[in-house]
């Protein structure tokens, strides 16, 4: 019990307390860098600006000071409830994310750094993600505003469509790792293999030059399922409704879409949800495709053995735990940076282009990906054994 509460506090502290405020700042600075500006640097306390890091604080203070306005024709209860429904799924998704591996400290059970180490973790992510659509839907409907309604119609169609493709694009990963638990997936990614090792079965391996035969890559999802990675990242970014997929809130055509009639901190909650989903997406993509907490080419046993030979087993396990948490967070930061880069590089799609991309390009591609993966895996099982 105490262990679980500790994990929850850690996750909330890291993601809500550190990542979330920083992301609003990072977003501003990233856009400034890419548009050749200086960027956020005005908010200050007694003249100290600290590179503009104080801007999130100023934002929150401003939002809390604003009037909380409910339009006259709105459905009051639903209007007030919608931002909360939008925010909650983003937070509870973190319950199944493994921030570090499984460690034996000699206690009753090995220590596993997941809040809820359930067998069906990835299904949980999808279930929670599908609930997230309701925040948008209720917001647009309850506002009683045609722009908001248009935004909501767009949002619900976009989210349902991309959910289908998102589910299909990770089936290849299930097949490779034979599990749906994110922790077990991370454990399976904690090793490496020879990139061209399969040529042994054709008798071609000996003909390769030595350095080519020696090349090793980690067994990460991104190397086993490169197409799955690209498609999953696209779909999950479309679910998040940030540019270039921000059709539901396209400010130039729909003013602001579904959160048009919101003000003050309730509007802030929608933005919090959107910003919070950025690190959450980073966490899920990292756990699925980037090896989770694993450090490339140094699996847990080697690390514990190596450090343990100098300082003892228990101390080494603790050090490795800390190292793994840092490896995970570093990968999450890389994924956040990648999302920021995409967000500020690409212009907004047209709506029919978004739908065509989903149904006419990604859906067939993901089915092809499943088929090819199945054939290759069957070949490995039959021939390689």
């Amino acid at each position: 019990m105490a262990e679980t509460i500790g994990k929850i506090l850690f996750v909330l502290l890291v993601v809500m307390g550190a990542f979330l405020p920083m992301i609003t700042w990072v977003e501003r600075k990233q856009s400034a860098v890419m548009q050749d500006r200086i960027g956020a640097n005005r908010a200050n306390i007694a003249g100290i600006t600290v590179l503009g890091v104080l801007h999130p604080l100023a934002d929150v203070l401003k939002l809390f000071g604003k009037e909380d306005f409910v339009p006259a024709g709105a459905n009051r209860v639903m209007h007030l409830l919608a931002p909360v429904i939008a925010l909650v799924p983003a937070i509870i998704t973190l319950a199944v994310v493994p921030f570090a591996g499984v460690y034996d400290f000699g206690g009753e059970n090995p220590f596993s750094f997941v809040i809820a180490d359930v067998d069906w973790g990835l299904l949980y992510v999808f279930a929670v993600g599908s609930i997230a659509a309701y925040g948008t839907i209720i917001a647009g409907w309850a506002s009683n505003n045609n722009w908001a309604l248009l935004g909501t119609v767009r949002a619900s169609a976009q989210m349902i469509s991309y959910e289908v493709t998102m589910g299909l694009s990770v089936v290849g990963v299930f097949m490779c790792f034979q599990t749906l638990s994110l922790q077990e997936m991370s454990l399976a990614q904690d090793s490496s293999f020879r990139l061209l090792g399969f040529l042994e079965h054709f008798g071609l391996f000996e003909t390769l030059p030595g350095w080519l035969a020696w090349i090793q890559v980690p067994t990460w999802g991104i190397f086993l399922q490169p197409m799955g990675f690209v498609m999953f990242l696209t779909c999950i970014m479309a679910e998040n409704k940030r540019p270039p997929f921000d059709l539901p809130e396209a400010e130039s055509e729909l003013i602001a879409g579904y959160h048009l009639e919101y003000s003050g901190m309730r509007w802030g909650l929608f933005y919090t949800a959107e910003f919070l989903e950025v690190p959450v997406i980073g966490c899920i993509v990292t756990a699925l495709f980037l090896g989770g907490w694993s450090i490339p080419f140094l699996d847990t046993q080697t690390l514990i053995g190596g450090i343990g030979s100098f300082f003892g087993e228990g101390f080494a396990t603790g050090v490795v735990l800390v190292l793994h948490v840092h490896a995970f967070l570093a990968k999450v930061v890389i994924m956040i940076w990648l999302q920021m880069l995409i967000r500020w590089s690409l212009p907004r799609f047209r709506y029919d282009q978004v739908m065509d991309l989903c149904w006419k390009i990604m859906l067939p591609l993901s089915l092809v990906n499943i088929f090819v993966t199945a054939v290759v895996l069957l070949w490995f099982q039959e021939v390689v054994g």
Partner: protein, 168 residues
């Protein structure tokens, strides 16, 4: 009362209450749909209490995430703001139907405790998990599974044909 039983009573009450509010809410179709979501989610919780984990997750994913969103999507697409219809026809027959349904349910509830055995079978390892259910689905139930895929295909074609404005 054990924790599981009180959880069951809580979610059962939630399911029945929101189902009633879905049927009795005469003004707002979207509110009916939201009540239906609450019913679905509380039923998923009951499934978890019955150790049916895969079914519970799929219940939320398919019913909560797709089907009800589709309902709401259609309501918004047609922009049905309020739902006040003139008095319907055949009210006597409908009232009789409701009375019969209520009577049948009460009779069923009275008969149920005697009809069901008191003991339940022991849970096998992996009961309700995706491995076991999936294995059953793809071995013993492969024919219904394939038949369902055919049904889905025909529904897909049918929905496109129905919703398309005109076929050219």
């Amino acid at each position: 009362m054990s924790a599981e039983l009180s959880l069951f009573y809580f979610f059962a009450a939630l399911a029945v209450g929101s189902a009633l509010s879905m049927v009795l809410n005469l003004r707002n179709t979207v509110a009916s749909a939201m009540s239906l979501v609450i019913t679905m989610v509380s039923l998923a919780a009951v499934y978890v209490l019955m150790e049916a984990h895969l079914v519970a997750v799929l219940q939320i994913m398919v019913y909560g995430g797709a089907i009800v969103v589709l309902f709401v999507f259609v309501v918004m697409l047609l922009n049905l703001r309020q739902d006040d219809f003139p008095p319907g026809r055949q009210r006597g027959a409908k009232a009789l139907g409701v009375v019969l349904v209520v009577f049948a349910v009460i009779k069923l509830l009275a008969l149920l405790p005697a009809a069901l055995p008191d003991t339940v079978a022991a849970l096998p390892e992996g009961f309700g998990g995706y491995r076991d259910v999936g294995t059953a689905l793809f071995t013993r139930f492969i024919l219904p599974f394939e038949a369902t895929s055919l049904l889905l295909l025909s529904a897909l074609v049918g929905a496109v044909v129905l919703a398309k404005r005109r076929l050219d």
